[in-house]
């Protein structure tokens, strides 16, 4: 019984939160990795692109809530998501037209584009704060739990409860669907293959009659959609605050680099590695330890390796270790 309780506690406090956080990071890292692979620079504006997409979704959600449209047990934000994606697509396409295209025409070196993306980041950051404000916003509605801790306890008779939030279930399911569609698109469709070809060899893609500008537009479309989905899921799971999204940049980049920049598979693996490391290192293990260890070994402290305030440091350290020992990442990135 103690052993079961320990497993349930571990699932409740570590596995489930890390799964949903990992899915959010994976979706974010996929966007970063696509820009890196196809447009050939690290897009520092990605966190704020997520924030913008999420913001549009939130505004539409509020509008829907005010006129009484809802999805029953599911959050209304799901209905608003397509509008958020459209808004985000418009933003990135306008940005590309006004900013990035100039540098492409100059055949600017990627590192210049990285700096440019930082400028774009600050503008988007300001835009989001200007429209929705710097504060926390809540927009989740519908049923809060798929299984609540109390139901689980009465169902199983265990001491420990297992709660699965709707947003967590939704996150994992959406992530699986989105990733499956993305992989199908990149590997099976003509457009997806042309994007891989462009990523592999820009000149030869041109010689095959692939229009580079069209590939760029498709890439931004997909990146905007991924960013919005990731942003909305994160906002539903936690809450929406522009600054948090800016901070998400570090774990997202850590995920993409750990998995291997340019490799979609790597982005997903990296997302889960970062998420599980962050959660396990900042989790207070006392509860699990009490269930598993004999009474006389019962720990006095919380058995927490690192305070949750330092969770960003975890991604940073993993990033450093990977860059030192396997700079191309687990999946040997650089190719789509």
């Amino acid at each position: 019984m103690d052993f079961l309780n320990a497993i349930v506690a571990l699932t409740n406090y570590v596995v489930i939160p890390a799964m949903s956080y990992g899915s959010q990071l994976a979706l974010g890292a996929l966007g970063v990795t696509l820009v890196y692979g196809i447009l050939r620079f690290s897009n520092f504006a990605h966190g704020d692109t997520m924030a913008f997409g999420a913001m549009v979704t939130i505004l539409v959600t509020w509008l829907m809530q005010s006129v009484g449209i809802n999805l029953g047990p599911l959050p209304t934000a799901l209905l608003a998501l397509p509008f958020g994606i459209l808004g985000c697509v418009a933003l990135v396409l306008v940005t590309d037209r006004l900013v990035y295209r100039f540098y492409r025409e100059q055949k600017a070196k990627p590192v210049i584009l990285v700096i440019v993306s930082m400028g774009v980041m600050f503008i988007m950051n300001g835009l989001v704060r200007f429209i929705i404000g710097p504060d926390d916003q809540r927009f989740s509605d519908g049923a809060r739990f798929i299984i609540s801790a109390r139901d689980f306890k009465s169902m199983t008779g265990l001491n420990e409860g297992l709660a699965i939030k709707t947003s967590q279930g939704l996150t994992v399911v959406t992530a699986v669907v989105v990733v499956a569609v993305l992989f199908w698109f990149l590997n099976r469709t003509r457009t997806g293959k042309s994007m891989r070809a462009y990523s592999d060899n820009e000149d030869l893609a041109l010689l095959s009659g692939i229009n580079p500008e069209r590939v760029v537009v498709y890439t931004w479309l997909i990146v905007a959609a991924l960013a919005t989905v990731a942003g909305v899921l994160y906002g539903l799971d936690k809450s929406f605050k522009p600054f948090t999204y800016f901070q998400l940049l570090l774990p997202i980049f850590a995920s993409a680099i750990v998995g291997g920049l340019g490799s979609p598979l790597g982005a997903i693996a990296g997302g889960f590695i970062i998420a599980f490391s962050e959660v396990t290192i900042t989790y207070a293990w006392k509860k699990v330890a009490v269930y598993l260890l004999p009474e006389r070994f019962e720990p006095d402290g919380l058995v927490q390796l690192l305070s949750t305030d330092y969770k960003l440091a975890v991604s940073f350290v993993i990033l450093l270790i990977v860059l030192l020992f396997r700079p191309t990442g687990i999946f040997r990135g650089k190719a789509l």
Partner: protein, 275 residues
């Protein structure tokens, strides 16, 4: 590089933020010109072309290369003579400042490279001429990108021409040997069913046996009626199969004539063919 500050990365080698792999150098992808009717003349001709890369100096000076229906034309010349540049100029990958490019009775000087593909030109560059991370089959599919009809018969023809590719069709092209890579490269260009095929040193970096084999295949392609414009290092061997030959020196036409004439020309022999 040509003094453009945007192209100065100040020695950055950090691959975690910048991805230089596979980035393009071709210019003119955004060219929006239209083809203008210009009847007469050879099937494909780069007529007295003058031009260079970006805002840099001219590399080609009044250079003319042409190929006619059913012919093999070969461009030879010393290193740095502008042979590859002349090919790229004909394909629109750099700006031709003076002169014209005409294909099949149309002036295509202002067309972008991808539009020239639709017009029926196929080009195999000298280096990076395959998609290394994609399978052989995907390489061929990308070659047929502009085609909306069923291209399985063309793919079968390519596999007939290069049987080894059929065995390796699900293997990433980057894992193949040098000769096989060149076969993939030529096969990719053939997938559009081009009206004219341009090859930039198809035998570079392959062993002599493979080279002979590749030459045979190229002749085989030419026999199907596709005119071939080719740059070649092995001047003697190439001129032997050429209907027309051009010797370029420092971006200018030094000699031109039929392959046999050039092989017989004592001056050409002394300077380029080693006596």
């Amino acid at each position: 590089m040509s003094g453009n500050p945007y192209q100065d990365d100040r020695g950055n080698k950090d691959r975690s933020i910048a991805n230089p792999r596979g980035s393009g150098t071709a210019e003119g992808a955004r060219r929006k010109g239209k083809a203008v009717a210009a009847p007469g003349g050879p099937f494909l001709i780069g007529d007295s072309m003058t031009g260079g890369y970006g805002k840099g100096p001219n590399i080609l000076h009044d250079c003319t290369i042409a190929v006619d229906q059913g012919e093999i034309a070969v461009i030879v010349g010393p290193n740095g003579a502008g042979k590859s540049t002349a090919m790229k100029a004909v394909f629109g990958m750099l700006d031709v400042r003076q002169g014209h490019v005409r294909l099949d009775g149309e002036d295509i000087t202002t067309l972008s490279p991808q539009d020239r593909v639709s017009k029926g030109m196929g080009f195999v560059p000298q280096t990076s001429n395959i998609f290394t991370s994609m399978t052989v089959q995907e390489n061929l599919e990308m070659g047929a990108f502009i085609r909306t009809d069923d291209f399985s018969d063309t793919m079968a023809q390519v596999y007939d021409l290069f049987p080894i590719l059929k065995d390796k069709r699900n293997q990433p092209a980057g894992e193949l040997s040098g000769g096989q890579r060149q076969q993939v490269a030529v096969g990719r260009a053939l997938m559009t069913r081009p009206k004219v095929l341009m090859l930039d040193e198809p035998t570079a970096g392959v062993s002599p046996i493979v080279m002979d084999e590749l030459f045979d295949r190229i002749i085989e392609v030419a026999r199907t009626g596709i005119p071939i414009l080719m740059v070649e290092q092995n001047a003697r061997q190439a001129l032997e199969i050429a209907d027309k030959g051009y010797v370029l020196v420092q971006g200018r036409n030094a000699f031109s004539g039929t392959g046999k004439d050039l092989l017989a020309d004592p001056e050409v022999r002394k300077s380029f063919l080693g006596g």
